[in-house]
């Protein structure tokens, strides 16, 4: 199976994006931004429809629309009194509806729609692997070099500000990085399931970790095992790739949860 070029690309993409989502997910979940990534992902459908209508590779308009939506969220948060959830729900439904309407006007793209909704890692081309590699390098570089700043921002923004950090700049950078990762991960898991790779690995890691370093490392590991394991399982049993990756991650989460519950039960003092 490893001699097939499409499988090599699929495994490479899983190997890049699995740990990247695992790492970023630690901060996404702690900062309660899972809905943000869902909004960006769902809105990307409008970009896909636009790309297909114009006869372009949909990856680029998809990336562009995701970035526009992310910036709109930040702008509306700053300029209006609306709750963040309201802003995100508004943009998500608006852009997703525009995408669905766009697809209904285009003829003969049902397979494409399915591919973007549920992911199709096996159809990934070399250009997308390079794009994923570029995003992997940039995001990891920023995350590792600004890890202390990002951690302090997650602890409390006021404390980060008094410690001399540019809270606005860091928030902006984090949102842009997250948007890039979500947009590129849509090819791996699809619009519907992409957030799961940002949420399940850190949740799994938390059941086992006793400090942040362990949490980050375990989340990276779960991202790798879930991503690569899911691709291999989907090939072996002829299953859809994105959902298989998610189910692999869920299985790892359940194992960690069981382990955590047993450990807690053993630590509980025995009542006489």
């Amino acid at each position: 199976m490893l001699t097939e070029p499409y499988m090599q690309r699929a495994l490479l993409i899983a190997l890049l994006l699995g740990p990247l989502c695992g790492f970023l997910g630690v901060f996404v979940t702690a900062r309660r931004m899972a809905f943000f990534s869902d909004t960006v992902a769902h809105s990307a459908l409008a970009g896909v429809a636009m790309g297909l209508a114009l006869g372009w590779d949909p990856s680029w308009p998809m990336l562009g629309v995701s970035l526009v939506v992310a910036l709109l969220i930040l702008w509306l948060k700053e300029k209006t009194e609306l709750l963040t959830d309201t802003i995100m729900a508004l943009l998500m439904s608006g852009f997703m509806a525009a995408g669905v309407v766009g697809f209904s006007l285009l003829k003969g793209f049902r397979a494409e729609l399915h591919r973007y909704l549920f992911g199709d890692i096996l159809s990934v081309g070399p250009a997308e692997v390079w794009l994923a590699l570029g995003i992997f390098v940039v995001v990891n570089l920023v995350l590792f070099t600004r890890l202390s700043a990002l951690t302090l921002l997650t602890v409390q923004e006021d404390l980060a500000h008094v410690s001399g950090l540019s809270v606005r700049g860091l928030n902006f950078a984090f949102v842009i990085l997250l948007t890039l990762v979500v947009a590129i991960s849509i090819r791996l898991l699809g619009i519907i399931l992409v957030t799961s790779l940002l949420v399940i690995p850190p949740a799994t890691a938390r059941n086992l970790a006793s400090n942040l370093r362990q949490e980050i490392l375990l989340s990276l590991l779960v991202g790798v095992v879930g991503g690569v394991g899911g691709v291999l399982l989907s090939y072996q049993f002829d299953l859809p790739c994105g959902p298989t990756i998610v189910l692999t991650c869920v299985a790892l989460f359940l194992i960690s949860l069981t382990f955590d519950q047993i450990r807690r039960a053993l630590q509980r003092p025995v009542q006489s």
């Binding site: 702690a30 951690t151 602890v155 404390l159 500000h161 008094v162 980050i216």
Partner: protein, 266 residues
């Protein structure tokens, strides 16, 4: 040219004619404060009196509609804030974010900023050297989100001290802390103040503790209603002015200086 209205030599904090409007409400209506260096100053006032808004202005987190804040004679900038340690009331930290106390403290120290790649013993060595009089050893492995109120406040003070501040700003530090914890926390602040000759600005609603530990008290209710030593400010009339209620001290048998303050009537 230096602003002649300000005298940077002796003052830790100067606030002039500060007005803040939030929505339709004028929360601060012209606050003036002059806090000399090296004192423990308490800012008291009822809920909604603008204590938190004033604190946010001091930290540059809230832009005033009018007026000016100067810390050590300078406008509030990132550079000036390096000389300030801030101790928030609490952290809105998700319990599942398992940041340990060791990792949290390492974020503030230059030598341990790369904590992710450093050995535990290396981090501990740096932290011990930076805070020699502070016994944090038993807490270092604990997750920050799992600390009790009193433990968290001690850790937050330690975090501020790692930045070697000349001024500490504490926002209702003992809210949600039990009575013995509250007592030992204020003793810790007094010790730090004595040892480092640091300016301490304390936002508090706890009149008994303020009475015992502050060298100067400002009562706020949109404006500074009264200021002076604890004895001067905490007479019933001054507090009535600030709180809009009648408050009276009663003495009990814990020795001199042990007053309790009770609300007598609305």
């Amino acid at each position: 040219m230096a602003d002649v209205r300000f005298h940077p030599s002796g003052l830790a904090l100067e606030v002039r004619g500060l007005k803040v409007i939030l929505g339709d409400t004028q929360v601060l209506r012209g606050v003036d404060l002059h806090v000399p260096r090296g004192q423990i100053v308490a800012l008291i006032g009822p809920n909604g009196s603008g204590k938190t808004t004033l604190l946010r202005c001091l930290l540059g987190l809230q832009q005033p509609a009018q007026g000016e804040v100067r810390i050590f004679g300078q406008r509030v900038t990132a550079e000036v804030l390096r000389r300030v340690g801030y101790v928030p009331q609490r952290l809105a930290l998700d319990r599942s974010f398992v940041l340990s106390v060791r990792e949290f403290l390492s974020l503030r120290l230059e030598q341990t900023r790369n904590w992710f790649w450093q050995q535990r013993s290396t981090l501990d060595g740096h932290l011990r050297a930076a805070l020699p009089e502070y016994d944090l050893e038993p807490l270092l492995d604990r997750p920050v989100a799992g600390l009790s109120g009193g433990q968290l406040q001690r850790v937050l003070v330690a975090f501020s001290l790692l930045g070697k501040p000349e001024m500490l700003l504490l926002d209702e530090p003992t809210a949600g802390v039990d009575s013995p914890g509250e007592q030992s926390f204020y003793e810790l602040i007094s010790t730090i103040h004595r040892r480092h000759q640091m300016s301490v600005i304390l936002v508090s609603h706890d009149l008994s503790m303020v009475y015992r530990h502050a060298s100067r008290v400002y009562a706020l209710n949109g404006v500074i209603c009264c200021e002076g030593t604890p004895e001067e400010v905490m007479n019933a009339d001054s507090l009535k002015q600030a709180y809009g209620i009648h408050v009276t001290p009663y003495h009990h048998d814990h020795g001199p200086g042990h007053h309790h303050w009770v609300n007598v009537q609305p």
